[in-house]
């Protein structure tokens, strides 16, 4: 089953930050990287990607630079800023805590009277 990563708007931002944290990427590569690091389980809709990237740039979490891609095409590369790195760490911690909490709640068994 493939899920779209933009189920929760915050999740997409978090995944983008993570993808870019492993090295500067251009837009298309971000899509690819997210698929890759999620074990081919998360696919991002193309229409949602660039607005999210632009939003992160506006918030100062990413910075951009034009460069050349692998096949020598001109492309705009996105890179984490120091602030972005910090935000990634914070959001990851929060996500882990939230996921653990939900998992615990879902694993609750009915009490025997």
């Amino acid at each position: 089953m493939s899920e779209e990563a933009e189920l929760l708007p915050g999740t997409l931002d978090l995944l983008i930050l993570k993808a870019v944290s492993l090295g500067p990427l251009h837009g298309y590569a971000v899509l690819f990287r997210i698929e890759q690091i999620s074990g081919q389980r998360l696919f991002v809709e193309q229409g949602a990607l660039y607005p999210a990237l632009f939003r992160l740039v506006r918030q100062g979490l990413l910075k951009t630079e034009w460069g050349k891609s692998e096949n020598n095409r001109r492309a705009k590369f996105y890179e984490l800023t120091a602030k972005g790195r910090k935000r990634l760490q914070e959001e990851t911690d929060w996500w882990k805590r939230a996921a653990a909490a939900v998992t615990t709640a879902l694993a609750a068994r009915p009490q025997r009277a």
């Binding site: 837009g27 298309y28 229409g47 660039y50 506006r58 918030q59 100062g60 096949n71 001109r74 705009k76």
Partner: protein, 235 residues
């Protein structure tokens, strides 16, 4: 964050053309990269590009959404809204005229009212030390705000220790008769102490003095403006 926001806004407005160009270029490069990937899988170049474009979706929507994500979007939208409303107004001149007239009447009435209220109510009195002036009412069970009687006033005036001075004011609307029909005039009865308290002086003649307050003294009339010729007989 503010710095990045301002930078983003500056980019949007100051380098609008460049922004548009760059967005277009980024879009193109994305499509090309996707086409490359499809080509690697075995598609023909032309087919790969076509597929990639379809996958990407509408260009216009892409640009719209990216522009929205940039800072300063509210301003842009506000400007667009203003332009649109101006266009609509131009198309229906009758309606615009009515709207303008209504606004003019409303604003005019408000300004006129305010001028009056400002002068009469809001500006401090041109007396000395207006902040020290108090208006004292009597309170009775049937009327929360009513007048004092003359004996009451005299008692307060003579016995007060809380106030620097007390003056009495009452309305007084006599009729003045000249050679023609009598006219009712709006006036005020004041104790002499009022003038000292308010530090008001007469342009011509004098204001009331303590002597005039005595029982049996002759009545003294002050007029606010210079009266016309002819005798006046008080009633």
């Amino acid at each position: 964050m503010i710095a990045a926001y301002l930078r983003s806004m500056a980019r949007r407005f100051l380098r609008r053309a460049q922004n548009e160009r760059e967005m277009h270029e980024e879009l193109e490069s994305h499509v090309q990269l996707r086409a490359d990937a499809l080509e690697r899988v075995g598609l023909e170049r032309a087919e790969a590009e076509r597929r990639a474009r379809i996958e990407f979706g509408s260009h216009v929507r892409f640009k719209e959404e990216c522009r929205e994500a940039l800072a300063g979007n509210a301003i842009d939208q506000a400007v667009q809204d203003v332009r649109f409303s101006l266009r609509s107004l131009r198309k229906s001149p009758g309606f615009s005229l009515v709207a303008v007239i209504t606004l003019a009447l409303g604003i005019g009435a408000t300004v006129a009212t305010f001028s009056v209220v400002n002068t009469v109510l809001l500006r401090p009195f041109a007396f000395s030390h207006p902040e020290k002036l108090l208006w004292i009412y009597s309170q009775r069970s049937d009327n929360p705000r009513t007048n004092f009687s003359l004996p009451e006033y005299c008692d307060y005036r003579d016995q007060t220790t809380s106030f620097a001075g007390l003056a009495g004011v009452a309305s007084f609307n006599p009729s003045f008769a000249d050679s023609g029909p009598p006219e009712r005039v709006q006036g005020v009865r004041m104790s002499a102490s009022a003038f000292a308290m308010l530090a008001v002086r007469a342009f011509v003649g004098r204001t009331l003095i303590a002597e005039d307050d005595r029982n049996g003294a002759r009545g003294v009339v002050l007029t606010a403006t210079v009266c016309g010729r002819g005798a006046m007989h008080g009633t």
